[in-house]
């Protein structure tokens, strides 16, 4: 990084640290915070979407749809996250390759499962065998988003379902009295009002999602926690910058990052709550009314 970094062992302390903290691995460490933020930014809306679908399924009038919704919500919430994160990428990856194998290689004679091995023809490989490294990384990232969205979508579904039930029945009755259909009443009356009931639950799930991001390394993505562990561990003289076990300092940096993140999102949720409570028949809405008067 700096021109004086050629012979690290001979440097005075401040220069040594300047060089040490700008090694390629450290730059990767700083980048990994961005990776975590991007994952959160993508996963949260996708999980919200999954959750909305799940909540609608739970409310559906057709019993098979309801059954699917209940199956999804209960199954996913019941299985430990870590099992799910190990299962989804491998099972989903194999599922996609299995389908592509049958489409692209109908003449293939060998069985796909040979003992422990899972073998598909090369046209069915996802990503293809000779794809660039970034394609593999993108693929792993998409798998991570899918795994996170599946797990957290189930929790969101239950929260949204509860929030929809919490909208006072009288509101829906009034809508019906105005001649709205079931769908209209849902869209115009239930949907806009349910968010304030969903918010505390959603903010819980968001905080848990933030804390679950270190599971990323299980999916082959090098996140901030992976790098903190890797860089903080003792480095012997095989490395250019040998140092004793410094994991405490690295984890302290992580602590600050995650605390800042949760503190920031607490504030955002508090403001959202104020906005959504406006004109609502809830205690918070009542307080706002009084404050304004």
């Amino acid at each position: 990084m700096f021109s004086f970094c050629i012979e690290p062992a001979t440097l005075p302390q401040w220069q040594w640290f300047a060089c040490y903290l700008t090694t390629a691995t450290h730059l990767q460490f700083y980048r990994s915070f961005g990776v975590v933020l991007v994952l959160l930014a993508i996963t949260a809306p996708v999980a919200l979407g999954m959750g909305m679908l799940g909540a609608l399924a739970l409310r559906a009038r057709l019993w098979p749809v309801r059954l699917v919704g209940q199956g999804y919500v209960n199954l996913v919430r019941g299985v430990p996250d870590i099992v799910f994160f190990l299962f989804v990428p491998i099972a989903l990856g194999q599922g996609i390759e299995w389908v592509l194998h049958h489409i692209n290689c109908p003449d293939w004679e060998q069985p796909i499962r040979q003992g422990n091995d899972f073998i598909v023809c090369r046209e069915a490989k996802v990503p293809p065998n000779n794809a660039a490294r970034w394609v593999f990384e993108l693929y792993a990232f998409i798998m991570a988003v899918v795994a996170f969205a599946l797990v957290f979508g189930a929790f969101v579904a239950n929260t949204l379902y509860g929030a929809m039930q919490a909208v006072p029945r009288a509101q829906v009755e009034t809508a019906e009295a105005y001649g709205m259909t079931r769908g209209q009443a849902f869209r115009r009356v239930v949907m806009p009002q349910m968010w304030v009931y969903a918010l505390p639950g959603l903010s819980n799930i968001w905080q848990i999602l933030i804390k679950a991001t270190p599971l990323l390394f299980l999916l082959g993505i090098q996140d901030a926690v992976y790098w903190a562990r890797e860089l903080g561990g003792q480095k012997t003289s095989l490395y250019a910058y040998p140092h004793p076990d410094w994991r405490m300092w690295y984890f302290l940096a992580l602590l600050c990052f995650y605390l800042l993140l949760t503190w920031g999102s607490e504030r955002v949720f508090a403001r959202l709550n104020d906005r959504l409570s406006h004109g609502q028949a809830t205690a918070a809405g009542e307080r706002l009314r009084k404050a304004a008067a």
């Binding site: 090694t23 390629a24 996609i96 069915a124 910058y241």
Partner: protein, 244 residues
């Protein structure tokens, strides 16, 4: 929703049909086990196995690419086809051979050793708490013995456990521990006698991948014959270790 899923399907189909002539052999490694394989300060995967793997690929005229994978899931990802070879300081053992198959060994059966703080009584080997990395031959040895095993997912954590007193000693490959003993200036020492578990270190491939196993084995044998393998061993481990 429908539109995005269609584009996604199209993207996957495009990626899948883009196969070209030369297949890439993907080699999985842990990247946390110096000097076998580790990530240096320039964020490159380096080590004995990286040099060896690249040399094997050059001689076999294969295009190779290194993939980092957590140690605990390194075998499941091989058998499900996420990479084709494991070169990660993996000892050839009976139990692993039931799931994957190994090439001929590229390191002779190398010693495992106990390491502890300087004033540790060697009897802890029999009755103390021994730190090991999970899913290793050393973890198997400790599980079969009388001492209490304390398992960690990464090799680095086993060393920390000894330093902070959580474990009395660590059992690991001696060549991995050697650098820590040297750097510690007398704080860390080897305890007791060395052990020689396993049949050496080899590259793991899928059991159905006969062709690749044969290719790799042939080149490793060739490198044993012409002495280039020994040169690599000396370069990374020094001349104090068993050669071919």
């Amino acid at each position: 929703m429908k539109k995005t899923s269609l584009t996604l399907a199209a993207a996957i189909a495009m990626m899948a049909s883009g196969a070209m002539a030369q297949d890439v052999v993907r080699i999985g490694t842990e990247g946390a086990y110096p000097p076998w394989n580790f990530i240096n300060d320039a964020n490159e995967v380096v080590g004995f196995e990286i040099d060896l793997g690249n040399e094997i690929c050059r001689r076999a005229e294969l295009t190779c690419e290194w993939v980092l994978n957590d140690w605990d899931t390194i075998i499941p990802n091989l058998v499900s086809g996420n990479y084709d070879v494991i070169m990660a300081g993996m000892s050839i053992t009976e139990a692993r051979s039931q799931v994957i198959s190994f090439t001929t060994n590229y390191l002779p059966s190398d010693p495992s050793a106990y390491m502890g703080l300087a004033d540790t009584d060697p009897s802890v080997i029999e009755n103390g708490v021994i730190a090991v990395q999970s899913n290793t031959v050393q973890a198997g040895i400790v599980a079969d013995g009388d001492a209490d095993g304390l398992e960690f997912p990464t090799p680095d954590e086993t060393i920390s456990a000894v330093r902070n007193g959580e474990a009395d000693a660590v059992l690991a490959d001696k060549n991995f521990l050697a650098a820590y003993v040297e750097d510690s200036g007398g704080e860390l020492v080897f305890l007791g006698d060395d052990l020689y578990p396993g049949d050496g270190t080899g590259a793991g491939v899928r059991q159905s991948d006969h062709e690749l196993r044969e290719t790799l084995t042939a080149i490793i044998e060739e490198m044993k014959e012409d002495g280039s393998l020994n040169e690599l061993i000396v370069e990374w481990f020094g001349d104090g270790i068993a050669q071919f």
